[in-house]
Symmetry: D2
């Protein structure tokens, strides 16, 4: 049996670990051959380049960030059914009878439809830095991102203390606050702001003032998608620079400026950006990605298509792909509320 593999969406530490585990398990235990399609769904549309994946090809990639298969955000269903035909043709050309699809909401959403509506045999592996996929306790990449953000917060504490400044740290999370919440709790932040709940700038300033009163300097962790209660000010913040480029300042810089204006305290912003999603995966993410890869191949062997591997407690289970992509997993209010005891 020939099994196809692809990685789609934003890159994420652990992608290579999934590929390695799947190939190793498939080759050694079931005698499968593996074909890697390049650059996500685009590789299946264009059939421009494939990589034969045997055990030698996946040696040494476990600790490496990124993906040896490349990625893209191409949506093959954007143009309608034509994409489906191209994909079917590519699979047929390579004699591929099953497809392991590693990706986030968008990539898996395609897999759900290809599997459900067109009978293309897909098994999903959930991947997102942001941890906002339903049906799984965690996605790989998230722990790495949280670890990097936490280490940055650790470092910023000392600079905040030495100068008695407010330090605002903007972390990833356009639609969900998981990284902000976990890194904020782990890093001992004094304010944590998430997209799930609009924040009140005066309340934030209150926490900041309270923190200074106990002779400590505050750290504010804000998800890039967090928004103030009183309007979508941040999004209006586009301005033209001297070259005529539109320039959007992020919520982090906006908030620091507001804090300075309202409290009179110096505030500085750090935007961690892509550093959060690159580099070697954490031990947890390597372990999770490896197990996902092993179990995805077992799903292929069982012909259990249309399913996605997922973490539940310490078990890897299978769930319908659609269950994971139906709705975003956001931070529940009661979990956010737990963190509030550390504010101020």
């Amino acid at each position: 049996m020939r099994v196809g593999l692809l990685t789609g969406g934003g890159d994420c530490p652990g992608l290579n670990a999934v590929i390695r585990a799947a190939v190793r398990k498939g080759v050694r235990d079931y005698g499968y051959a593996f074909v890697g399609f390049r650059d996500g769904w685009r590789g299946l549309l264009d059939d421009h380049r494939t990589t034969a994946l045997d055990i030698a090809a996946v040696r040494g990639i476990l600790p490496r960030g990124g993906t040896i298969l490349g990625s893209s955000r191409t949506n093959p269903l954007a143009e309608g059914e034509e994409g489906v035909c191209l994909i079917e043709a590519t699979l047929a050309r390579h004699g591929v009878e099953a497809l392991v699809v590693i990706g986030g909401e968008d990539t898996l959403g395609v897999a759900a439809r290809l599997s459900g509506e067109y009978g293309i045999p897909c098994v999903g592996v959930p991947k997102t830095i942001d941890n906002d996929l339903s049906a799984t306790d965690y996605t790989f990449g998230f722990d790495t991102a949280v670890s990097i953000a936490t280490e940055a917060i650790d470092r910023l504490h000392t600079t905040a203390e030495s100068h008695m400044r407010v330090l605002v740290v903007e972390v990833m999370g356009r639609h969900s606050g998981w990284i902000a919440l976990h890194a904020g709790l782990a890093g001992g932040a004094n304010v944590i702001l998430v997209p799930e709940r609009r924040f009140d700038v005066d309340e934030v300033c209150g926490w900041i003032t309270s923190r200074f009163r106990s002779s400590y300097a505050p750290i504010v962790v804000v998800a890039e998608g967090a928004m103030p209660r009183d309007g979508d000010l941040v999004l209006k913040d586009g301005t033209l620079d001297s070259f005529g480029h539109v320039r959007l300042s992020g919520v982090g810089e906006w908030l620091a400026a507001e804090i300075e204006r309202r409290t009179g305290k110096e505030a500085r912003t750090t935007v961690l950006g892509h550093v959060q999603r690159g580099g070697t995966p954490s031990a947890f993410d390597r372990w999770l990605a490896t197990r996902f890869g092993l179990h995805a191949v077992d799903a292929v062997r069982d012909g259990d298509f249309g399913t996605m591997v997922a973490l539940r407690g310490t078990d890897i289970v299978r769930v319908p792909i659609g269950e994971a992509t139906a709705r975003l997993k956001t931070v529940p209010p009661e979990m956010y509320a737990e963190a509030e005891v550390f504010f101020g």
Copy 2:
């Protein structure tokens, strides 16, 4: 209400995070006062020194390893009921009406009996580097230990490759192989040996030889409590040194010597030792320990004594303390079997 806190057993990254979270939650939300007893149960027996724990006292301790309360392995029930009387007297003297007990199997075993048999109001918080406590998905400290061991394995790969040597890494785990299994998977080990399953040295040598055949050098991860199939040779290995001290060589060194003898390949051992349990906790462990602390105080508020906080998926739940200490949580055979695809 006055609440007592103690930390018992081996030190573990995250202990301070529990203390901080419990104090902060208790003081801010419920108006509790906290008394820290020093050096585990010994502090309650001797009443030699206590620490008043208010919010200022727990500032800045989140990222610090070890425990600000000190620890010991003293078992207050070793001498019979006398210990119970001393504990009751100490609690009364300090006006303590509830006790948050942070510890592993032994420390919590005492809490279970004090609570169940003598009505002393205890809430447990599970702690062990080894992750071998039942009733919780994970204990804090484990992720840190796995991360440190994985980083060491990463480093050893390059030295193994450069010299085409076998590198044996002995990690913690006297009775369970959780650290070995997780770090072995995450570090890309070629052999993983755990206490749960006696190993066959010839089989190990077979994996090693197979690895060399593909022109790579093997890494063997062995839990300190792993034993060869053909007898408990390792434990007999005590010898006298020139000073007449008994000297026990660990399984790692023993195995490296055996591998050299049987395969003719050079083998070296690294014993990670206490490095695995010291220093700043990982982001995951800080998050878990913090949530344990918060929920332990909620259990106190609910008068839910005799229970222990535990992680189930992403939820913190309460279980009877006795459930956690009744039997060791070992690596299930099917989980170990998952890893075998990477051997050789």
Copy 3:
């Protein structure tokens, strides 16, 4: 003898290591008593708060970033000779007969004048993240900053590769490119831009295009003070946001926009910011700061005032403070030229 200590300017990993070493050496070997003045020169002007520094007071601070004495950018000579009188009065009030001044160009510039013109007995210890102080091979804090920036670049490589994007990393260095040069070399950057040499955007785009041709994605490391050849465009880039705040986009964001416009390739920016100057010092910086502290106290004992400790090779020597502050140490053209072989 009573010796005063102060730390001035921006915070920097290793300040506490200097304090600890100086106190330990002075107390144990020479029987000195130490007084810590708070918040740089401001503490000497206001005499608002001092800290008695004995051996117990400096225990455990070696690995901690920031400074236990606080810092400020107050220039006591800004208002003329009045500041000198206040400083002399404060020193007399505390019976301080020698002052160890730990700081950068500004702080040490004051020490040079106080020592040279007013006979106040100062010994200097050079500190700057930026490494731009003359007369010493390195300042502590620099190695930590370079290490943090290098680790970030390592992580960005994988995300650049996975998406075939340009990644621009803006690092510290307003007036000198030491951090950019060292981190760029260590991180394998494909373009390194420094304040010492105005850059040509088209040349930068040429290197980027050449890198893509060999199927790799480029990393551009740019010091915050680097400027394009064709005018000071960046500095004009202030715009008003929706709140009427002036907003200066840094050179990193400006350059990424230019690269996108000229090459048609996606480009992203990461601004590392304060993360580079916080947190625990690297081993090298702890060693250097510790030795600086020891030797500063020896200079006090020798009555060698007006001097600063400096690193020359592996030796700690003494130089006139003025020698260090007379001119900025910038990256020599031939050292920058060495790096060019890696461009493109």
Copy 4:
């Protein structure tokens, strides 16, 4: 012109950085072609396998530990002049007109003789974890080893404190104490023992007792080659285990046992071992190794054979290879004496 490259001796982080820089500089600036000989001098004796090194071949190796060329401890002069003939023949066969030799005392000692006595055109690049090569301020690999050891010591502090135990850390350094001294200073050790000075166990126990008196637990850093004053007891410590293997306990374990016996305090040992020499190089080592590679190629271009590149302050200079290998660079007594203020 064809230039040969080889790496000899123990592996060391930074070897690949040298190779990459040399190749890149030679190809781009001088049009050289490079041949990599495998496994140190053995590759030149056997001519068993060579690697063509162009720019593509050295992409991505900068952050990787180990050496892509492999290494060995083969001494081609061990058997007399026959080795020289084999080497000359191999060089002729590959048309190699200059040889860049990257290695430590032994490997460079051979290069010195080949160059001086037989006219084989060698340029040396100094490499040793131990930093014990004369004529250069530092060798690459050393900073990485010190950083790893320091991080381990940081972690051990918390476990020492929590249990009030002595922790003995054995670090690399058979003949010199550089790693012990630097990591001991950077890690805040309470005792540092080096091969350059025999230690007195009772004095060590005195420092330990003094440390406990101030309510802190001591960390003892000992180089593997350190020896007690009263005889070479450690080396006699060979014993037979139950399999009849001779087992030498290192100085770390021996010392911990002695400390326990004499002070009555619990003591534990950590032997860091190969972890110190593997994995990605530190930023400093990457910078140093890169510059060594660039300058070695310049020496080739200048025909400056028989020389070795060396670090002096911030300059890379050339020295006769023999100067570096003539005598071991050990820790000077006055530098060791600097550290004593931290003992106890």
